[in-house]
């Protein structure tokens, strides 16, 4: 299975939220109680039952309105923080580039929730499992498009092999930049190159996205420094204890001494 990519071209997205419905329909996720958040957005954040939603940002500057819409879902990072943080090795990256949670192994510890720079995975308290967009891996592996891409009418979501779709994204970007100079790609370099690559109409921070996000330093320190060092420390102590005991045996310190 070649590496896949999904281009989210916000220059075409009209915020119709069909992707949200298609995702809920395919994954059989029940609806949740919502209320108008801002503009036409009614879903504030991810939840164990909401794996993708559309954010609306109204930026009005010198008489022109930029009505920015962005479909939020798991980026399926090239270098996923959730995978690194997961306590139970339940998260895995498929060849096609999707980061998927194995609910048989997941214990709902929430490490992924806290360490994802985009705050995507969420733990369902009743099921004690962490949930997020699966990239419709069951569809993709059977040569179907993810449900959200399939239903997108405006052509804002495109699915294809990473190699050629990235090229298309760049051409499209140069086209869009003619009218929107700050338009830029997001996801090509971030987090080791994500599977969902965005063509944004403005700088990432306007969308509330972290600027060149990386795996949190705390996570790297935790997994690559504290854990090994800690292991050595405990191992060392244990070894010291063993050696100490032998040393004393050799020295005969244990022979009963009438003191």
């Amino acid at each position: 299975m070649t590496r896949k990519m999904i281009l989210v071209d916000t220059s075409k997205c009209t915020g119709c939220k069909a992707c949200t419905v298609a995702c809920k329909e395919w994954n059989e996720l029940p609806a949740e109680k919502t209320q108008l958040v801002t503009s036409y957005q009614t879903q504030k954040d991810f939840s164990p039952k909401t794996w993708t939603y559309v954010t609306f940002i109204e930026k009005y500057k010198d008489q022109t309105m930029n009505f920015l819409m962005r479909k939020a879902q798991c980026f399926h990072c090239g270098d996923p923080a959730c995978l690194k943080a997961c306590s139970s090795k339940a998260i895995r990256q498929t060849e096609s580039g999707f980061v998927v949670i194995d609910h048989k192994k997941c214990i709902g510890c929430g490490y992924c929730t806290e360490n994802c720079p985009f705050g995507v995975p969420k733990v369902d308290q009743t099921l004690q499992k962490s949930f997020k967009c699966t990239g419709c891996i069951d569809r993709v592996e059977n040569n179907l498009k993810p449900a959200c891409v399939q239903t997108c009418q405006t052509g804002a979501l495109m699915f294809g092999d990473y190699s050629d779709l990235l090229g298309q994204a760049k051409n499209r970007l140069s086209e869009v930049q003619k009218t929107h100079p700050q338009a830029q790609l997001y996801g090509e370099k971030e987090m080791g190159g994500t599977t969902y690559v965005y063509l944004l109409m403005d700088r990432p921070e306007v969308y509330g996205l972290p600027v060149n996000p990386t795996i949190p330093l705390s996570l790297t320190l935790w997994k690559d420094v504290v854990r090994p060092v800690g292991g050595i420390a405990v191992g060392g102590a244990a070894a010291a204890v063993v050696i100490g005991v032998f040393a004393n045996i050799v020295k005969g310190s244990y022979r009963s001494k009438d003191d």
Partner: protein, 811 residues
């Protein structure tokens, strides 16, 4: 559309949008209410097309526009008139298109005039126009005289020129609130892009000058030569899955299926009918009567014409007026199959009180919509309402066979995918069993009035089969009982030998159920898809495509070839079915020149004249009134669009202050306590109502779908930041929006997508509210139609949902 081109339907199709170079999307929020349009608009934009959006709000559609202008609701004709004026003054029109394919050169009758806001022939008492003065100067052959140049003062073109000379960009700015420089930019952008298409929907039609607004579009498109071309035309984005079909089938008090005018009381014979409607209607009427009464409709009994009820022409029973009549107690029994009037009719109090006057209401629907349970709406005492209500569970779209006709006039067949849920039944079966029971009740009756029921041809099988009904629509050759093969066969057959329930559908099941065709290849690359389902009439995908050719019958735009005259084989051929009178008549013949064959003049009508073609020169021997061939579609409120203020307007008409509002607008004044009018100083702001992408129309279905309620849980009022500041509220607060007729409390959406604008120098605010909510369903909410005004377009009867005056304060 029919007064301009002869047919009341969208001229092109969804997939044709990809061929356009420029879009004027005004009166439509297609990204929300016709999302599929965006797929094709985006494809056109990728090829460099420009997108202009004019809307009272910066909608999700506007977010993708190259050029956006915020307009005061109800003032479209002001800026469209300015564009027409701009096109004429700067000769931006397509000269030989205007000369050959429009009635520009025809001479207008001498006694036609337009003075300070009123056309000639106006009767103030009856608030109606007599249309006789809007005719042409006729020659001895009863044909309109032709001027020799556009400059001739009597020509339609000059009338157009003088009429719109008053519409300058500056005047338009004062009326609409759009800066003059931007209107000019819109005009330039739209005129440069060839072909350009206009997309409109209820945003344009739901005004007391709705029809005239569309007429303005027709004038612009005819001047620019965009009609009949791939990527051109006027795309009326119809609202509902089968709205094209339901108007084809004439669920309208003044029509019979196939857009046949309904017989009126003075039509005591088919001949009388033809005197009024032209001989061209004889064949379809007789075919209809054959389809309904079979062998009981014979030549000797005037094809059972007497069986048809005749309407009283002075009674306007269009949808909203119907409720006015119901409120006066005329109706004892009402059927309500699939609509939700208690939420969708403006000024809901009228509907609520009207329904209580019924003895019995019969509803067929999927869910218990508001109309079905009007007797237990909050605040109503059921004990006082004596209407018996019967509710039938209806089957859903994929639980029944049948066809739906979409905006592109594609009649698409679908098989039932599931069994109906529980004891639900398709409406087809309900109607079939109802009629059979009624007929049984009348068994043996000899009363003449029962003859239509007993002699009706109504046999669609034990369990009503949708295919049999579709075949009846396709029509039969009555001489041998075989299905009519094609529209051409129908047109060739002599009167009385062919039957069809709806003549424009002839050929749909000619050889096999063409509506079920699924070949989706399109070698032309123009998105015609000629082998997918069946487009009426006769599978023509782009109407009036004769106009895409020059006088020699060759396509003007070689990148978008539709049809052409094949001199070798002496026949019109091409990528699309030719919309010509006769395929064998070349461009040099009179028939071959007609680009708008459904119009009596055979040409596009810039000036919607009152004219009947083919009136005989010599009066008929038997002294009976003469019968012409084809009457022209008329607008009851004027041959040319004129700007009038909406019924409830914050200001007076700048062009003709004495006649500020449309003099012929239909205002329901019958029940004063229900139909109150708001004054600008009590209700300073303008309300416009619309749908949202997450819900559909009255929300009867979508508000019972949890996923959609999650996406849009409640109605809201959008208002500008200035207004929000003035009344001291912020985003998310609840506000009370009130009009002279009612008030609702909803959440406020404070946004920059609505800006304060100046009208005649005065600061004005627009408030926007979606209307898809009612007291029933999983996600009830206040109905916006508590506020709207029941003022109707005089021609179509469309209520003025888009404009009324309101006030707003913190709740």
């Amino acid at each position: 559309m029919s007064p301009s081109f002869g047919r009341g339907a969208m001229t092109n199709s969804w997939s044709d949008l990809q061929n356009a170079e420029v879009f004027l999307i005004a009166g439509s929020n297609c990204a929300e209410n016709h999302p599929i349009a965006m797929k094709w608009i985006n494809r056109a934009k990728e090829k460099g097309a420009k997108m202009i959006v004019v809307d009272p709000r910066f909608t999700r559609t506007a977010s993708k526009a190259d050029l956006f202008a915020q307009i005061r609701p109800g003032t479209d004709i002001a800026y469209l008139g300015a564009i027409i004026n701009y096109i004429i003054e700067n000769q931006l029109y397509d000269r030989n298109y205007v000369l050959n394919y429009t009635n520009a050169l025809l001479k207008v009758a001498k006694d036609y005039k337009f003075e300070d806001g009123v056309f000639s022939g106006y009767d103030a008492k009856s608030r109606k126009y007599a249309v006789t003065s809007w005719g042409y100067q006729l020659g001895s052959d009863n044909k309109p005289l032709k001027a020799d140049s556009l400059e001739d003062p009597d020509s339609v073109f000059s009338k157009l020129k003088t009429h719109y000379s008053r519409y300058t960009f500056e005047t338009a700015e004062k009326i609409t609130g759009i800066p003059a420089v931007k209107i000019k930019q819109i005009a330039d952008t739209f005129c440069e892009g060839k072909p350009g298409t206009i997309l409109y929907a209820l945003g344009m039609t739901q005004h007391t000058t709705g029809t005239q607004g569309i007429r303005a579009y027709a004038v612009i498109q005819l001047l620019l030569g965009n009609i009949g071309k791939a990527g051109g035309g006027i795309n009326a984005l119809r609202g509902e899955p089968n709205v094209q079909g339901s108007t084809d089938m004439a669920n309208l008090f003044n029509n019979l299926p196939g857009y046949l005018p309904h017989p009126i009381n003075t039509d005591q014979s088919i001949r009388d009918y033809q005197v009024r409607n032209g001989s061209v209607q004889e064949k379809p009427l007789v075919a209809l009567l054959k389809a309904w009464f079979g062998e009981h409709a014979r030549k000797d009994n005037d094809f059972a014409f007497s069986y048809l009820p005749k309407i009283n022409p002075s009674v306007n029973a269009s949808m909203v007026k119907l409720f006015e009549m119901m409120d006066k107690g005329q109706f004892k029994l009402a059927f309500n199959f699939g609509s939700n009037s208690l939420v969708s009719i403006p000024n809901r109090q009228l509907v609520r009180s009207a329904l209580t006057k019924l003895d019995m209401l019969v509803v067929s629907d999927l869910f218990e919509v508001e109309t079905a349970q009007f007797w237990r709406e909050p605040g109503v005492k059921p004990a006082d309402i004596n209407t018996e209500v019967i509710m039938f569970p209806a089957a859903f779209v994929y639980e029944k066979d049948g066809t739906l006709t979409n905006s592109s006039r594609w009649i698409q067949w679908k098989n039932a995918a599931l069994k109906p849920l529980g004891e639900a039944k398709p409406d087809l079966e309900i109607l079939d069993s109802l009629f059979k029971r009624i007929r049984k009740l009348y068994d043996g009756s000899t009363d003449a009035k029962d003859a239509p029921i007993l002699n009706a041809r109504w046999d669609y099988g034990e369990e009503a089969s949708a295919l049999k009904v579709l075949q009846e629509l396709n029509g039969y050759d009555e001489t041998n009982g075989k299905l009519t093969q094609s529209l051409a066969d129908y047109l060739k057959a002599s009167v009385g030998t062919v039957s069809t329930g709806c003549w424009i559908y002839a050929g749909v099941t000619g050889n096999g159920n063409l509506a079920a065709r699924r070949k989706n290849s399109d070698s032309t690359g123009l998105g015609l898809y000629k082998d997918w389902s069946f487009a009426w009439p006769g599978n023509i995908r782009i109407l009036y495509n004769r106009a895409s050719c020059d006088e020699k019958g060759q396509p003007v735009d070689d990148k978008r070839k539709l049809i052409w005259w094949d001199a070798a084989n002496n026949v019109w051929s091409g990528n699309d079915g030719p919309d010509v009178v006769d395929k064998t008549k070349g461009p040099d013949t009179p028939e071959g020149k007609q680009s708008f064959r459904m119009n009596p003049e055979g040409a596009g009508r810039l000036f919607a004249a009152n004219y009947m073609s083919g009136l005989p020169v010599v009066p008929s021997a038997d002294g009976l009134p003469a019968i012409g061939v084809r009457p022209a579609g008329l607008c009851v409120d004027g041959p040319m669009p004129e700007f009038y203020e909406p019924t409830e307007s914050p200001t007076d008409n700048l062009l003709h202050p004495k006649v500020s509002k449309s003099p012929v607008a239909l205002i329901l004044s019958s029940s004063p306590e229900i139909q109150k009018m708001g004054k600008a100083n009590d209700f300073p702001h303008v309300l416009t109502t619309y749908g949202v992408v997450e819900h559909f129309c009255a929300g009867g279905i979508t508000r019972n779908i949890p996923w959609l309620n999650e996406l849009m849980p409640e109605p809201f009022a959008e208002l500008s930041k200035n207004l929000a500041q003035k009344i001291g509220i912020k985003e998310g607060d609840m506000v009370e929006v009130s009009s002279a007729r009612g008030k609702v409390t909803v959440r406020a959406l404070v946004t920059d997508r609505l800006q304060t604008y100046k009208v005649n120098g005065k600061e004005t605010e627009t408030i926007g509210m979606p209307w898809s909510w009612g007291f029933a369903s999983l996600s009830p909410g206040p109905s916006t139609n508590e506020l709207t005004i029941a003022a109707l377009d005089p021609g179509a009867g469309t209520p003025e949902y888009k404009v009324c005056l309101v006030n707003v304060r913190r709740a």
